[in-house]
Point group: none
Chain length 148, copies 2
DNA sequence: GTATTTGTGGGGAAATGTGGGGAATATTCC
DNA sequence: GGAATATTCCCCACATTTCCCCACAAATAC
């Protein structure tokens, strides 16, 4: 699968639905079956994994020991927020209420591609998140990618 | 089997019944025969294992040495609380009284999927459990999954 | 300028969660 | 032992939520 990329903001309607950008939909493999698993993301957003990617995540979770206290806690938190959602005929998903509330989403969402998953943010939360970063883009790149 | 996931709170009626979320029921294999084995869980909740998974747990218990004192104690505690329960026509199970009392359940339960089993909590107990965690979600993930 | 794709809204059918009745089974008490 | 009582199980009924489809507006492509 080609990496998920791009960004767009969309309306959330009265039924809690939001469109997934057509460009991102085009990136999905047929085996993904127009299905995502959404779960609690890191840093106040919703993560949406295409089906194939989610299967890989589950394998990693399944490899953890049920007798280790921290592993148990993480398994609970990761899985309890997870929910499988499929695109409707118009390319939308229903955002689970609990995740909407966790992410602070009201009537609009910012959807962005992040290589192997999609992220769904309340636009205001994303602005705050950006503002809170201490390193600028260039510095961050150097640190993460090993510029020096 | 796809991992059990999701969360929902349900009423416990006067007969001690609680619904199992339809999404979780859909995850069960036909061989699970709509049957769970419930037992005392780790951290003040009830664990409910689908039949197949329970068989696996039993094999692990069976592999323990009966001549080891601690193994003997763990076997007793693990097995003495276990009880097999089946879904009724409406997708509910009857929660065994002793486990209800152990988990501090009153009139509502929080049910969550935890990959290979379901957990049944008193909502208040789960809140306390969450509040008692010293690491936040992101930190926990990095520690358990090896972010760094 | 027209045709096609993309995004938004809403209505009706089906599934889900909850309560309760009554028969069958078990338990208690005399 | 037998009657009274309690418990368990299986069924039906209803309210609510969710799902799936149709319709239209806006944007993009040609």
């Amino acid at each position: 699968m080609a990496g998920l990329k791009g960004q767009a903001t969309y309306a959330v309607d009265a039924k809690g639905r939001a469109a997934i950008p057509a460009k991102m939909r085009a990136t999905l493999a047929p085996e993904d079956n127009n299905t995502f698993t959404v779960t609690r993301g890191f840093e106040t957003c919703i993560f949406a994994y295409p089906l194939n990617t989610w299967r890989q995540m589950e394998r990693e979770i399944g490899a953890l020991s049920g007798y280790d206290r921290e592993a148990r806690t993480f398994t609970r938190l990761f899985m309890m927020w997870a929910e499988e959602v499929s695109l409707d005929g118009q390319g939308r998903i229903v955002l689970p209420k609990q995740l909407v509330s966790y992410a602070g989403i009201k009537d609009r969402v910012l959807i962005l591609g992040a290589y192997d998953h999609i992220e769904i943010w309340a636009p205001e939360s994303f602005s705050e998140y950006l503002a809170a970063q201490e390193s600028d883009y260039e510095t961050l790149a150097a640190r993460v990618m090993g510029g020096q």
